[in-house]
Protein backbone atom coordinates (compact mmCIF):
# COMPACT_ATOMS: atom_id res chain seq x y z
CA UNK A 1 0.00 0.00 0.00
CA UNK A 2 1.41 3.39 -0.86
CA UNK A 3 1.70 6.32 1.55
CA UNK A 4 -0.82 8.20 -0.54
CA UNK A 5 -3.35 5.51 0.22
CA UNK A 6 -2.70 5.60 3.96
CA UNK A 7 -2.89 9.36 3.96
CA UNK A 8 -6.19 9.17 2.10
CA UNK A 9 -7.70 6.74 4.60
CA UNK A 10 -6.62 8.95 7.48
CA UNK A 11 -8.20 11.97 5.82
CA UNK A 12 -11.46 10.10 5.36
CA UNK A 13 -11.52 9.17 9.06
CA UNK A 14 -10.86 12.77 10.02
CA UNK A 15 -13.63 13.95 7.72
CA UNK A 16 -16.11 11.50 9.20
CA UNK A 17 -15.37 12.76 12.72
CA UNK A 18 -15.86 16.34 11.58
CA UNK A 19 -19.12 15.48 9.90
CA UNK A 20 -20.43 13.69 12.97
CA UNK A 21 -19.55 16.71 15.06
CA UNK A 22 -21.52 18.92 12.71
CA UNK A 23 -24.65 16.79 12.77
CA UNK A 24 -26.37 18.68 15.62
CA UNK A 25 -25.90 21.89 13.64
CA UNK A 26 -27.37 20.31 10.56
CA UNK A 27 -30.57 19.62 12.44
CA UNK A 28 -31.04 23.34 12.91
CA UNK A 29 -30.88 24.01 9.21
CA UNK A 30 -34.21 23.97 7.29
CA UNK A 31 -34.69 21.11 4.86
CA UNK A 32 -33.11 21.84 1.50
CA UNK A 33 -35.44 22.97 -1.26
CA UNK A 34 -35.31 21.28 -4.58
CA UNK A 35 -33.34 22.88 -7.38
CA UNK A 36 -35.88 21.54 -9.80
CA UNK A 37 -39.40 20.15 -9.79
CA UNK A 38 -41.92 18.67 -12.18
CA UNK A 39 -45.52 19.82 -12.34
CA UNK A 40 -47.86 17.56 -14.29
CA UNK A 41 -50.96 18.83 -16.05
CA UNK A 42 -53.25 15.86 -15.60
CA UNK A 43 -57.01 15.37 -15.38
CA UNK A 44 -57.35 19.14 -15.74
CA UNK A 45 -55.32 19.86 -12.61
CA UNK A 46 -51.77 20.90 -11.82
CA UNK A 47 -50.06 18.24 -9.73
CA UNK A 48 -48.66 19.17 -7.33
CA UNK A 49 -50.64 22.39 -7.23
CA UNK A 50 -48.06 24.04 -5.00
CA UNK A 51 -44.30 23.52 -5.07
CA UNK A 52 -41.36 25.12 -3.32
CA UNK A 53 -37.98 25.46 -5.02
CA UNK A 54 -34.71 27.23 -4.36
CA UNK A 55 -33.77 30.50 -6.08
CA UNK A 56 -32.40 29.61 -9.49
CA UNK A 57 -34.43 26.41 -9.57
CA UNK A 58 -36.25 25.08 -12.60
CA UNK A 59 -39.85 23.90 -12.85
CA UNK A 60 -40.72 21.57 -15.71
CA UNK A 61 -44.38 21.65 -16.73
CA UNK A 62 -45.55 18.49 -18.51
CA UNK A 63 -48.95 18.14 -20.17
CA UNK A 64 -50.30 14.61 -19.80
CA UNK A 65 -53.85 15.55 -20.80
CA UNK A 66 -55.40 15.12 -24.23
CA UNK A 67 -56.15 18.83 -24.50
CA UNK A 68 -53.78 21.83 -24.65
CA UNK A 69 -52.89 23.68 -21.47
CA UNK A 70 -50.74 26.59 -20.37
CA UNK A 71 -49.15 27.56 -17.08
CA UNK A 72 -49.48 31.32 -17.15
CA UNK A 73 -48.45 33.68 -14.36
CA UNK A 74 -47.68 37.39 -14.15
CA UNK A 75 -44.00 36.87 -14.86
CA UNK A 76 -43.89 33.61 -16.79
CA UNK A 77 -45.83 31.68 -19.41
CA UNK A 78 -45.20 28.22 -20.79
CA UNK A 79 -47.16 29.01 -23.93
CA UNK A 80 -49.48 26.34 -25.26
CA UNK A 81 -48.41 22.81 -24.34
CA UNK A 82 -50.08 19.99 -26.26
CA UNK A 83 -50.32 16.34 -25.23
CA UNK A 84 -46.97 15.11 -23.87
CA UNK A 85 -45.21 18.43 -24.48
CA UNK A 86 -43.11 20.02 -21.72
CA UNK A 87 -41.53 23.37 -20.90
CA UNK A 88 -38.86 24.32 -18.38
CA UNK A 89 -39.18 27.62 -16.53
CA UNK A 90 -36.29 28.99 -14.44
CA UNK A 91 -37.06 31.08 -11.37
CA UNK A 92 -34.20 33.48 -10.70
CA UNK A 93 -35.75 35.49 -7.88
CA UNK A 94 -37.46 34.67 -4.61
CA UNK A 95 -41.19 35.14 -4.35
CA UNK A 96 -44.57 33.50 -4.71
CA UNK A 97 -45.77 33.02 -8.26
CA UNK A 98 -49.42 32.01 -8.78
CA UNK A 99 -50.42 30.78 -12.19
CA UNK A 100 -53.33 29.24 -14.10
CA UNK A 101 -54.17 27.57 -17.36
CA UNK A 102 -55.51 30.35 -19.54
CA UNK A 103 -57.76 27.86 -21.35
CA UNK A 104 -59.14 26.14 -18.24
CA UNK A 105 -59.16 28.87 -15.61
CA UNK A 106 -60.20 26.57 -12.79
CA UNK A 107 -56.73 25.00 -13.12
CA UNK A 108 -54.53 26.97 -10.73
CA UNK A 109 -51.17 26.47 -9.04
CA UNK A 110 -48.38 28.27 -7.19
CA UNK A 111 -44.59 28.21 -7.26
CA UNK A 112 -42.88 29.40 -4.08
CA UNK A 113 -39.22 30.34 -4.60
CA UNK A 114 -37.07 30.81 -1.46
Amino acid sequence: MTPVTRLGAGSLLWSRRRLLALLPLAALIRPARADSAIVEMHQLKFAPAEIEIAVGGIVTFVNLDLVPHTATGDVFDTGTLRHNERKEIAFAAAGTFPYLCKFHRHMTGRVVVR
Binding site: Q43, L66, V67, P68, H104, H106
Partner: protein, 179 residues
Protein backbone atom coordinates in the same frame (compact mmCIF):
# COMPACT_ATOMS: atom_id res chain seq x y z
CA UNK B 1 -87.31 28.77 -21.58
CA UNK B 2 -85.79 27.14 -24.37
CA UNK B 3 -86.04 23.59 -23.31
CA UNK B 4 -87.22 23.17 -26.86
CA UNK B 5 -83.83 24.37 -27.99
CA UNK B 6 -81.97 22.14 -25.65
CA UNK B 7 -80.73 20.39 -28.48
CA UNK B 8 -81.59 18.05 -31.08
CA UNK B 9 -78.41 16.48 -29.87
CA UNK B 10 -79.66 15.74 -26.42
CA UNK B 11 -82.92 14.55 -27.87
CA UNK B 12 -81.15 12.40 -30.41
CA UNK B 13 -79.02 10.83 -27.75
CA UNK B 14 -82.06 10.21 -25.59
CA UNK B 15 -83.85 8.66 -28.52
CA UNK B 16 -80.83 6.60 -29.36
CA UNK B 17 -80.69 5.43 -25.77
CA UNK B 18 -84.25 4.24 -26.18
CA UNK B 19 -85.68 6.68 -23.66
CA UNK B 20 -88.44 7.71 -26.01
CA UNK B 21 -89.10 4.35 -27.42
CA UNK B 22 -87.26 4.88 -30.67
CA UNK B 23 -87.21 1.74 -32.73
CA UNK B 24 -84.72 3.28 -35.14
CA UNK B 25 -81.59 4.22 -33.24
CA UNK B 26 -79.25 1.81 -31.54
CA UNK B 27 -78.79 1.47 -27.81
CA UNK B 28 -75.34 3.05 -27.18
CA UNK B 29 -74.55 0.29 -24.71
CA UNK B 30 -74.71 -2.22 -27.56
CA UNK B 31 -72.22 -0.59 -29.91
CA UNK B 32 -68.99 -2.35 -30.73
CA UNK B 33 -65.59 -0.64 -30.28
CA UNK B 34 -65.42 0.71 -33.83
CA UNK B 35 -68.96 2.06 -33.56
CA UNK B 36 -68.15 3.66 -30.22
CA UNK B 37 -65.07 5.29 -31.74
CA UNK B 38 -67.22 6.63 -34.58
CA UNK B 39 -69.95 7.94 -32.28
CA UNK B 40 -67.45 9.59 -29.93
CA UNK B 41 -65.74 11.29 -32.87
CA UNK B 42 -69.08 12.48 -34.30
CA UNK B 43 -70.15 13.81 -30.89
CA UNK B 44 -66.96 15.85 -30.66
CA UNK B 45 -67.26 17.07 -34.22
CA UNK B 46 -70.84 18.21 -33.62
CA UNK B 47 -69.72 20.31 -30.68
CA UNK B 48 -66.96 21.86 -32.79
CA UNK B 49 -69.59 22.85 -35.34
CA UNK B 50 -71.85 24.20 -32.57
CA UNK B 51 -68.91 26.36 -31.52
CA UNK B 52 -68.28 27.67 -35.02
CA UNK B 53 -71.94 28.68 -35.21
CA UNK B 54 -71.52 30.52 -31.89
CA UNK B 55 -68.43 32.35 -33.13
CA UNK B 56 -70.38 33.41 -36.22
CA UNK B 57 -73.46 34.62 -34.36
CA UNK B 58 -72.44 35.76 -30.88
CA UNK B 59 -70.71 38.89 -29.63
CA UNK B 60 -70.80 37.81 -25.97
CA UNK B 61 -67.21 37.38 -24.73
CA UNK B 62 -68.16 34.52 -22.40
CA UNK B 63 -69.95 32.64 -25.16
CA UNK B 64 -67.07 33.21 -27.56
CA UNK B 65 -64.49 32.10 -24.99
CA UNK B 66 -66.45 28.90 -24.37
CA UNK B 67 -66.81 28.27 -28.10
CA UNK B 68 -63.07 28.70 -28.65
CA UNK B 69 -62.42 26.28 -25.79
CA UNK B 70 -64.76 23.71 -27.37
CA UNK B 71 -62.98 23.95 -30.72
CA UNK B 72 -59.52 23.68 -29.14
CA UNK B 73 -60.36 20.79 -26.80
CA UNK B 74 -62.59 18.69 -29.05
CA UNK B 75 -60.17 19.01 -31.97
CA UNK B 76 -57.38 17.81 -29.68
CA UNK B 77 -59.40 14.86 -28.36
CA UNK B 78 -60.54 13.86 -31.85
CA UNK B 79 -56.96 14.08 -33.11
CA UNK B 80 -55.84 11.73 -30.33
CA UNK B 81 -58.66 9.36 -31.29
CA UNK B 82 -57.53 9.35 -34.92
CA UNK B 83 -53.93 8.73 -33.85
CA UNK B 84 -55.04 5.75 -31.78
CA UNK B 85 -57.15 4.35 -34.60
CA UNK B 86 -54.21 4.70 -36.98
CA UNK B 87 -52.01 2.87 -34.51
CA UNK B 88 -54.59 0.10 -34.19
CA UNK B 89 -55.05 0.07 -37.97
CA UNK B 90 -58.77 0.34 -37.32
CA UNK B 91 -61.45 2.26 -39.16
CA UNK B 92 -64.38 3.76 -37.22
CA UNK B 93 -67.70 2.25 -38.18
CA UNK B 94 -70.75 4.37 -38.96
CA UNK B 95 -73.88 3.32 -37.09
CA UNK B 96 -77.44 4.35 -36.33
CA UNK B 97 -76.49 6.02 -33.08
CA UNK B 98 -74.01 8.32 -34.86
CA UNK B 99 -76.62 9.00 -37.52
CA UNK B 100 -79.20 9.90 -34.87
CA UNK B 101 -76.71 12.30 -33.29
CA UNK B 102 -76.08 13.98 -36.63
CA UNK B 103 -79.76 14.19 -37.50
CA UNK B 104 -80.48 15.87 -34.18
CA UNK B 105 -77.57 18.22 -34.70
CA UNK B 106 -78.80 19.33 -38.12
CA UNK B 107 -82.25 20.05 -36.69
CA UNK B 108 -80.67 22.00 -33.87
CA UNK B 109 -78.44 24.05 -36.16
CA UNK B 110 -81.45 24.98 -38.28
CA UNK B 111 -83.21 26.36 -35.19
CA UNK B 112 -80.15 28.06 -33.75
CA UNK B 113 -79.24 29.77 -37.03
CA UNK B 114 -82.53 31.71 -36.90
CA UNK B 115 -81.61 33.28 -33.56
CA UNK B 116 -79.42 36.25 -32.81
CA UNK B 117 -78.17 38.37 -29.93
CA UNK B 118 -79.13 37.40 -26.42
CA UNK B 119 -81.66 34.83 -27.61
CA UNK B 120 -78.89 32.95 -29.40
CA UNK B 121 -76.51 33.21 -26.45
CA UNK B 122 -79.07 31.79 -24.01
CA UNK B 123 -79.94 29.03 -26.39
CA UNK B 124 -76.31 28.12 -27.09
CA UNK B 125 -75.45 28.08 -23.39
CA UNK B 126 -78.44 25.91 -22.48
CA UNK B 127 -77.78 23.59 -25.40
CA UNK B 128 -74.12 23.13 -24.45
CA UNK B 129 -75.05 22.27 -20.89
CA UNK B 130 -77.67 19.74 -21.99
CA UNK B 131 -75.39 18.33 -24.66
CA UNK B 132 -72.52 17.73 -22.28
CA UNK B 133 -74.80 16.24 -19.65
CA UNK B 134 -76.16 13.80 -22.20
CA UNK B 135 -72.86 12.94 -23.85
CA UNK B 136 -71.14 12.50 -20.48
CA UNK B 137 -73.88 10.14 -19.41
CA UNK B 138 -73.53 8.09 -22.60
CA UNK B 139 -69.71 8.03 -22.49
CA UNK B 140 -69.54 7.24 -18.78
CA UNK B 141 -72.38 4.77 -18.49
CA UNK B 142 -72.54 3.12 -21.91
CA UNK B 143 -69.30 3.53 -23.84
CA UNK B 144 -66.62 3.12 -21.17
CA UNK B 145 -68.13 0.08 -19.43
CA UNK B 146 -68.66 -1.71 -22.74
CA UNK B 147 -65.62 -0.86 -24.82
CA UNK B 148 -63.22 -3.80 -25.05
CA UNK B 149 -59.97 -2.26 -26.31
CA UNK B 150 -57.94 -1.09 -23.30
CA UNK B 151 -56.36 1.87 -25.09
CA UNK B 152 -59.70 3.13 -26.36
CA UNK B 153 -61.14 2.73 -22.86
CA UNK B 154 -58.28 4.83 -21.44
CA UNK B 155 -58.74 7.46 -24.13
CA UNK B 156 -62.47 7.69 -23.42
CA UNK B 157 -61.76 7.99 -19.69
CA UNK B 158 -59.36 10.87 -20.27
CA UNK B 159 -61.81 12.48 -22.66
CA UNK B 160 -64.59 12.17 -20.08
CA UNK B 161 -62.46 14.15 -17.58
CA UNK B 162 -62.32 16.94 -20.15
CA UNK B 163 -66.02 16.75 -21.00
CA UNK B 164 -67.00 16.91 -17.32
CA UNK B 165 -64.97 20.10 -16.99
CA UNK B 166 -66.84 21.41 -20.04
CA UNK B 167 -70.14 20.55 -18.38
CA UNK B 168 -69.21 22.61 -15.31
CA UNK B 169 -68.04 25.46 -17.50
CA UNK B 170 -71.29 25.29 -19.48
CA UNK B 171 -73.30 25.49 -16.25
CA UNK B 172 -71.36 28.64 -15.33
CA UNK B 173 -72.03 30.06 -18.78
CA UNK B 174 -75.77 29.42 -18.38
CA UNK B 175 -75.72 31.29 -15.06
CA UNK B 176 -73.68 34.16 -16.51
CA UNK B 177 -75.62 34.59 -19.72
CA UNK B 178 -78.84 34.67 -17.72
CA UNK B 179 -82.39 34.08 -18.70
Amino acid sequence: MSRKFLGGLALAAALAAGCAGSAVAQDPAKLNDLEIAHAAYVAGDIDIRNAHLALALSDDPKVREFAELMIRDHEAVNQQALTLLDKLKAKPQDNEFSQALLKGAHENWAKMAKLSGHAFDKSYAANELAYHQTVNHVVGDAFIPNVENAELKTLLGSALDVFKAHEKHAAEMVAEVGS
